[in-house]
Amino acid sequence: MWKFIHKMASPPHFYGLAARIIPWFAVPGLVLVAYATYAGLFVAPADYQQGDAFRIIYVHVPAAFLSMMTYMIMAISAGIGLIWRIKLAHAVAAAAAPLGAWFTFLALATGSIWGRPMWGTWWEWGDPRLTSELIMLFLYFGYMALRGAIDDTAKADKASAVLALVGAVNVPIIHFSVEWWSSLHQGATLVREGGPAMDMSMLYPLLAMILGFKLLFSALLLRRVRTEVLYRERRTRWVRELVLSEEARS
């Protein structure tokens, strides 16, 4: 088991393996997302209260879920990199951040668009999930800004790791604070996503979409980590030999 992890943590090994694994995530992911899109848009019955607008849930919830999952992945791999000094872990954190920011943006944008017909406004400060998503977007920006401001890669890795860990502790607290705050907000109509109990025919596409998103995210992440690894190791022998062998082949 340790030998496997040790091998996985070796950049050249990871680089090759990841290339082969990506399709195994991408293809099932695409299939699931395609099914979930079709089922969510055309098969699931319209919601009693919200009509067809509720279908936005099928992209909004998975995006929000992924945005939080990515933050955790970022924080955990940054922590692993910091504590056990595994370079690959830092590469994963660096690669995950922009993806997480994109998903957070998507959650916010779809949430805002959903809000327009529901609340009559493009933004509702009273919705705790939207507001804490917004704060999480700022956390991502801070992380990426800190990384960008430090030239030395190793230093940037460690500094942003500290930030990611401190932020991770705060994420649940932020959610709790915002929820408490908006429960005091007079007259806010909280959107109960999907209604109190979701019908099975409504739930399946949602679960499928979440899983599909996760698979696609994994494929994207693997691709980005490969590039990170390649860049960080650009002066090493294995990269040189890799490039030379590719040239020789072509």
Binding site: G51, D52, A53, I56, I113, W114, R223, L230, R234
Partner: protein, 53 residues
């Protein structure tokens, strides 16, 4: 056509789904381009080093 209109919420629902698709496409495309750029930079330098010897 009726299916596409989504009651009255057509523009909202489709905007969301199209935006989602675009985000995935953009992420994939940028990831590939970034990889290609990094790779070609390295290949260029390796080639230059090789010529020097």
């Amino acid at each position: 056509m009726e299916a596409l209109s989504m009651g009255v919420y057509g523009p909202y629902v489709w905007a969301c789904f199209i935006m989602t698709a675009m985000v995935f496409v953009i992420c994939e495309w940028r990831a590939r381009v970034h990889h290609r750029d990094v790779y070609s930079d390295i290949a260029e330098r390796v080639r230059a080093l090789g010529e020097k010897q």
